[in-house]
Amino acid sequence: MIVLENVSFQYTKDRWILKQVDLEIENGSCTFIVGPNGGGKTTLSKLMAGILKPTSGDVYLDQQNTKDLELYQVGTKVGYLFQEPERQIFAATVKDELAFVMDLKEMAQEEIRKRVEAALEQFQLQEVANSFPFQLSRGEKQRLALAAILMNEPSFLILDEPTTGLDRERKKILSQLIEQLKEQGIGMVIISHDEKFIQTHADRVVKVAGGEVKDGG
């Protein structure tokens, strides 16, 4: 569960990006954040993930204040998909990208291989398994970044515009995945401008504009 209590945020002293936001996001629900460009959606999501710390107020992640949590501790609970997927891809091949964390945790090679194969199949990345990730299309990078996050088995997902660059078929696959994750009880916060996608999956819509958050229920 993510709780924001009276959260305000500013990057520079002369402008508030968010003002006195109170919000609760429950596990197992799918909350969409909508609003105009530059309205503070990404900032709100980064505050939820503990990437940014509030200027005033508190953000609690499973009852722990994000001010007391280090990023790696947040990472064991929350998976965050950046708006620009290339910023969270760092390995030399698609396979290595998926195996990255498991390799560092010294998991058995056979187990790593199995899980990587499963992810490649689920996200239709088999054909590019040995490719250099930076030469993939935007949609492929998006899928790879999401697949890599899910390898970590987070209990909460924050996705910043996950449908960008996806064709109709891939959007359908993403939709199925979101439903599966919901069934598994994984909470999700999704930033999107895709109205049809929002209507299909939203349990709740939150509107962010001009630093204010309006809960659309």
Binding site: Y72, G75, G79, E86, F90, L104, A148
Partner: protein, 244 residues
């Protein structure tokens, strides 16, 4: 400071950083550091910000002191373990000398940030530096903050995969940092490629001669500041030679 010509600022940076390289006397280096800080403060820079930047180099300073103490012969030992000198007064002196040079060069470079990239190009071009070279320098300055942001994002993304960079063993940590380099180098190459295409499309170098809408003109104050710079340079150099 923004009213000064970028060429004047370049002379200021060159004066201060040349002194940092040429001088070996610790007291004179401290004097040059004070001059650098005073100049940056006059330029509207914050001493606190500067100190924050320099804090990152503290560990390097400690390492330099140890390395200089261990590998430099001579000097009085300040800390010994079983007849092996860990810190000597000469090592400490050389370490201080090196870190001061670092500090002076880094702080003096902030003077240039008070000019816009366009002004810097124009300044360099009017110094008879080929436009292509001047443009290259400005692009480098322009992209540095973007690269810094990207590096931060990648580090954040690595940690958000549940990896505690401080706790993993050194060898693995080094491997993890190699993951940071790969996307950075790729991003630089891709950006360079895209930028070159964009420049070609906007007819960069289509004509041998370029004209500028804004031409910089040196004011009396610029000449005065330059003269002061040369004077300060000469005085400190003479002092340095005398102290030797």
């Amino acid at each position: 400071m923004s009213y000064l010509d970028p060429r004047t600022k370049l002379v200021m940076v060159l004066t201060v950083s040349s002194l940092a390289v040429l001088i070996t006397n610790l007291y004179l280096l401290i004097l040059v550091q004070i001059i650098a800080v005073a100049t940056v403060t006059a330029a509207g820079g914050s001493i606190l910000d500067m100190l924050k930047k320099l804090k990152k180099f503290l560990l390097i300073f400690v390492v330099i002191v140890f390395v200089q103490s261990i590998f430099t012969k001579g000097g009085q030992p300040l800390w010994q373990v079983m007849n092996f000198t860990i810190i000597s007064d000469l090592g400490l002196f050389r370490g201080l000398q090196m870190i001061l040079r670092f500090f002076i060069i880094i702080s003096s470079a902030s003077i240039m940030t008070t000019s816009t990239p366009r002004e810097i190009i124009q300044g360099l071009v009017q110094c008879k530096i080929p436009y292509e070279m001047a443009f290259m320098v400005t692009i480098a300055i322009r992209f540095l903050p973007i690269l810094r942001d990207e590096a931060n994002d990648i580090l954040t993304a690595i940690q958000l995969r549940g990896i505690n960079l401080r706790q993993i063993p050194l060898l693995k940590r080094l491997k993890t940092y190699s993951y940071l380099l790969m996307p950075m180098i790729t991003s630089v190459l891709l950006k360079a490629q895209e930028l070159s295409i964009a420049m070609e499309l906007r007819a960069f170098r289509a004509y041998p001669q370029r004209t500028s809408l804004r031409v910089l003109k040196m004011q009396r104050l610029d000449y005065l500041v330059m003269a002061v710079c040369i004077l300060v340079f000469l005085i400190i150099m003479v002092l340095a030679l005398k102290i030797k």
